[in-house]
């Protein structure tokens, strides 16, 4: 997307490293900076560290070295900082992770009520607005098991949005969906991008990348191999590894 106003740097990642206990090195000296309202798509083979990077940003994984700064708040041992970051960074998972014992509405209003201390009516109204936004207001009182995969993922997106995060992360959000349902979820994500949400998206959906991303990062072995605008990436990749990867998935 060309004609968008990108803001200041909201996510600053300096030389982060992460090695898992089993010896696998997922991130090596990884650095990047993301601006407000920027849509960054991360692609790469499995095991390249894409998901690990996302999970480090909100504290699901601990980094071994380096620093992470999110909207001025560092991700360190300070519990208040960590909580602040968890509130401001929303995440959508490949396996949805909806709460099966709660209705769709309850799934969405739970966190705002408990964490942002919103009143019941206010939360309910906000939840219904979000459900309208993701096009399934009629499913408010259904349970997740009664919904299709695409609907569940859209509820998951609404649930993450309910916390009004500054950054939204998508960890292969459409990889577990049947092809017919990928479109409806991608539409929601595209709308979100157009509205100016800062998004970090790990995906294999190149169409999405081409349409709404501001930057594409290609990762392999825990490092950035190449990055650039979508136009540059798909028409004129520089590195051999990038060309090889793209030839396999396009």
């Amino acid at each position: 997307m060309q004609d968008k106003e990108l803001g200041d740097y909201i996510v600053t990642v300096e030389k982060i490293g992460k090695t898992f206990p089993n010896g696998v090195c997922a991130l090596r000296d990884f650095s990047t900076r993301i601006r407000r309202s920027e849509v960054v798509v991360i692609i790469g083979p499995s095991g390249s560290g894409k998901s690990t990077f996302l999970r480090c940003l909100n504290g699901l994984e601990e980094i071994d070295s380096g620093s992470i700064l999110i909207d001025g708040t560092p991700l360190d041992e300070n519990k208040k900082n960590r909580l602040e970051i968890r509130k401001e960074v929303g995440m959508v998972f490949q396996s949805f992770n909806l709460f099966p014992h709660k209705t769709v509405l309850e799934n969405i209003t739970l966190a705002p009520g408990l964490v942002r201390k919103k009143g019941k009516d206010e939360a309910r109204k906000m939840a219904m607005d979000l459900l309208m936004k993701v096009n399934i207001p009629e499913k408010a009182d259904s349970y997740p098991s009664q919904l299709s995969g695409g609907q569940q993922q859209r509820v998951a997106i609404a649930r993450a949005l309910a916390m009004h995060p500054k950054v939204m992360m998508f960890d292969e959000a459409t990889s577990a969906l049947d092809p017919e349902m990928i479109g409806e979820v991608l539409d929601v994500m595209k709308n979100l991008a157009r509205e100016g949400m800062t998004m970090i998206v790990v995906t294999h959906e190149m169409g999405f990348a081409r349409e709404v991303s501001d930057r594409v990062i290609f990762m392999e072995d825990g490092c950035i191999v190449e990055e650039g605008t979508a136009a540059h990436f798909f028409s004129n990749p520089q590195k051999e590894r990038t060309k090889l990867f793209l030839s396999q998935i396009l």
Binding site: R86, L98, F99, V115
Partner: protein, 273 residues
């Protein structure tokens, strides 16, 4: 079991074979055989069955008013012990499970220590230890000693059941909760425990039934529960067989009632699918 094959049998015969009527009939036949074996055995012993003597030890009508007999008094005491025991053991169990799963090394050691100590010593020994050693030192009553021993013992097993339930919840639930900013307390309270408890109701019920039956052991420290009253009545009347059958039957009523209540709860709180 193809539909083609079943259609070659007359429908009525199949329906009968699979119906509850068949199962009940088989069960009653087995019970009848057992009763016959018992009757033959006791005949050879020369035992004089006096069932008509039993009811007066359960209840009586004095001056037109209903009065508890010793067995019903004992039942009431068993109820009290079991009620407290269930409450305490579930609490101890949940707390211990949470301690075992906590990030604090000290918490994990304490919980593990308690678990290993209690699981590896007999309940009867624990009851005696609490009553003869700790009760004089700390000055608590025999009833308290009995309830405490029972709760500590069953609590250890309950804690493992809780832990199994908690650990069986998909990691994604924790991750989603974390990503939404929920505290660990809220995560347990709203997300993990409601799901875990639904899963572990069957083994928890078994443990509760164990507690009800194990409560009979407090009769060894002269708490006048159902078992103790049974022993007293037998000592006076020598109605050994009849009274023990009656006492066993009364325990059965308690445990079956509990099972039915829990089954109803299970159905009511089932997660929609």
């Amino acid at each position: 079991m193809s539909t083609a094959m079943s259609q070659s049998y007359p429908n009525i015969w199949l329906k009968l074979k699979r119906s509850p009527v068949m199962d009940i009939t088989k069960f009653l036949m087995v019970v009848a055989v057992l009763i016959w074996v018992m009757a033959r055995g006791t005949q050879q012993l020369g035992y004089n069955w006096q069932w008509y003597q039993v009811p007066k030890y359960i209840f009586q009508f004095q001056d037109g008013e209903f009065a508890f007999g010793p067995l019903l008094f004992g039942l009431a005491v068993t109820f009290r012990i079991t009620a407290w025991g269930l409450l305490l053991s579930m609490t101890i169990g949940l707390v211990t499970a949470l301690l075992r799963l906590s990030n604090s090394f000290l918490a994990r050691i304490v919980a593990r220590g308690y678990l290993e100590l209690i699981r590896n010593t007999p309940l009867l020994v624990q009851i005696f230890f609490l009553y003869f050693v700790l009760a004089p030192i700390f000055g608590f009553s025999r009833f308290f000693a009995g309830v405490l021993a029972l709760s500590l013992f069953e609590g250890a097993y309950v804690s493992e059941i809780f832990r199994a339930g908690i650990v069986s919840i998909h990691k994604g639930q924790w991750e989603a909760s974390h990503s939404l900013g929920l505290s660990i307390f809220d995560t347990y309270r709203c997300i993990i425990l409601p799901q875990a408890i639904r899963r572990i109701l069957p083994p928890l019920t078994s443990q509760a039934i164990s507690l009800i039956k194990d409560s009979a052991l407090v009769s060894t420290i002269a708490i006048y529960d159902l078992t103790m009253e049974g022993r007293v009545v037998i000592a006076e009347t020598f109605l050994t067989f009849e009274i023990w059958f009656t006492v066993a039957f009364m325990y059965l009523i308690i445990t079956i009632t509990l099972s039915i209540v829990v089954n109803t709860l299970e159905n009511r709180f089932r997660i929609q699918t």
